[in-house]
């Protein structure tokens, strides 16, 4: 039993790292422009398909294709922001929510029209490989996905903390007017932030492709997990999303030891609701 739980914790951390990158983009977008992107999980799907297409065309491993996927999804996300999101930034919340819901419809249906509804996957040499430490097994594709996620999270941190653009982005999220008075163009920042947020979701999609199938509605599997993670970490808090991702990953995996698979998500939602009800600003409470 103890071994089972330890194993679950290890798996949970590995998956949680991916959840973190999934959710960090959502948190970034909310933090900068107070929009909850209900289509965020479709950008995961988009990233998976792009990585799949690259693999199918030139045989490049999805992990190695991360830069390509990031740039492609970033560009697409930035364009979506400029054309669709920017016009509703000052609109009532209901317009913002349903605009992203409409976007989600379009992306899922678009993927189905392009790729069909079939489940696709890639074949990698390390697909079934695993490392063994004592009694613990570490699956290689999970480990690679985790490491790639960790690198992305570190790069994001460096961008936000160490570059002028990153500082400008944080400044805009904290006080838009004051940022404008510093010569920062918020429209440009919003575009880049949305591109980054969606690009990160795309990366998460690419890194899980070695162990997950891609199909048009694959994003729905991740959307509620993603909302749980950002709520747990505090909507809009980037560091909170990272911690939240790891926590949810571990809870998810450990609860699977005790509960039937179908009920795995019940625990996650219970945590989600409890957080909303008792600590709506998140466990870390960065931004209420």
């Amino acid at each position: 039993m103890t071994e089972q739980i330890l194993q679950a914790i290890v798996n949970g951390i590995l998956i949680g790292g991916v959840y973190a990158v999934l959710a960090v983009g959502l948190a970034l977008v909310f933090g900068v422009m107070e929009i909850v992107n209900f289509a965020q999980s479709e950008f995961v799907m988009l990233g998976m398909y792009i990585a799949y297409a690259v693999f199918a065309a030139v045989g490049l491993d999805p992990i190695a294709a991360v830069p390509i996927v990031f740039l492609a999804v970033f560009a697409f996300g930035a364009a979506v922001q400029r054309l669709l999101i920017q016009p509703v930034l000052r609109a009532p919340m209901v317009s913002q929510i349903f605009l992203t819901v409409g976007l989600s419809f379009v992306l899922v249906a678009g993927a189905q029209l392009l790729f069909g509804a079939t489940f696709l996957s890639v074949v990698t040499p390390y697909q079934t490989a695993a490392l063994t430490f004592g009694g613990l097994q570490v699956s290689v594709p999970y480990l690679l996905a985790f490491l790639a996620s960790a690198v992305m999270a570190a790069l994001l941190w460096a961008f936000l903390e160490r570059t002028d653009m990153g500082r400008a982005m944080r400044a805009t999220s904290q006080n838009r007017t004051a940022a404008q008075l510093m010569g920062i163009n918020p429209t440009r920042i919003y575009m880049i932030a949305f591109g980054l947020g969606t690009g990160l979701a795309g990366v998460a999609g690419a890194v899980i492709l070695p162990y997950a199938y891609v199909f048009p509605t694959v994003g729905h599997n991740y959307s509620l997990v993603m909302f749980t993670v950002v709520t747990l970490g505090g909507l809009g808090s980037v560091s909170g999303a990272v911690v939240g991702g790891l926590v949810v990953g571990v809870i998810h995996a450990v609860s699977a030891v005790f509960l039937p698979t179908q009920l795995q998500n019940v625990v996650v939602f219970a945590i989600f609701l409890a957080t909303l009800l008792f600590r709506p600003s998140g466990l870390l409470g960065a931004k209420a």
């Binding site: 500082r167 006080n175 007017t177 004051a178 940022a179 008075l181 010569g183 163009n185």
Partner: protein
């Protein structure tokens, strides 16, 4: 002429906030915009920074109209604005706040020197450069706001209610700093509701009432004006 505001009208919906305000200022001058709360002072400052649109009139910077500019293009002209209520970036360190102040093409290359200069002007900020700005006292936050604006190396500094909510002793410190900035040759547009305080430091002033200029003149003229004495100095 450094800055010329002519017949500026601003309205929010049907509500008139400014009813044709004109104002001029030259290089190295310190000009006050005075009056009670809601008289339109902040609206005027925000219009100059292009944060609020205006319906008619014009704003000219060194002869050039800024009517079509976005707010984020104004700092590039050399106009820095310390907004009402300080509006610092609370969850960034003091130094990061200052660095964000020097993002324009003209100011960025000089930002190391600018930092040194700000820390010399406000030694307290130097001691606390790694501290989160939101955890500073009100007076220190005002210093961050002013320092951040100075990082731009501006020709004109707009100060909106720099004394707001500060203890008297801190207010005096802020005003000493304003005097020091003047000495450096930076023009200052001072928005202040505490008329008595402002009169000591301005060359000329405009008193706004209900969005219109009620009285304008040199500091001495304002001090002698019966209307100003009765309405704002409590005499």
């Amino acid at each position: 002429m450094l800055l010329e505001v002519s017949d500026l009208r601003v309205s929010y919906g049907r509500v008139n906030a400014l009813c044709g305000v004109s104002l001029q200022m030259d290089r190295h001058q310190c000009v006050g915009v005075l009056g009670a709360n809601r008289a339109g002072k902040t609206t005027l400052a925000r219009a100059i920074s292009r944060l609020v649109p205006f319906q008619s009139g014009d704003i000219r910077w060194q002869g050039r109209s800024t009517a079509r500019m976005r707010p984020d293009e104004v700092p590039g002209l050399g106009v820095a604005h310390v907004p009402e209520g300080r509006q610092i970036f609370k969850r960034m360190s003091v130094e990061e706040n200052l660095l964000v102040g020097a993002l324009t093409a003209d100011s960025r290359p000089h930002r190391a020197q600018s930092l040194e200069r700000i820390y010399a002007l406000f030694p307290r900020l130097g001691e606390r450069k790694a501290q989160m700005a939101g955890t500073l006292s009100g007076g220190e936050q005002q210093m961050v706001a002013i320092g951040r604006a100075l990082m731009l190396r501006p020709q004109l500094l707009i100060l909106d209610e720099p004394s707001l909510g500060l203890a008297p002793i801190v207010v005096q410190e802020v005003y000493r700093t304003i005097a020091a900035i003047r000495e450096e040759g930076i023009a200052i547009l001072l928005v202040e509701q505490n008329v008595a305080l402002a009169l000591d430091c301005i060359d000329r002033g405009y008193v706004l009432e209900n969005g219109c200029v009620a009285v304008a003149g040199s500091a001495a003229e304002l001090r002698d004006s019966a209307a100003v004495r009765e309405a704002y100095l409590g005499l």
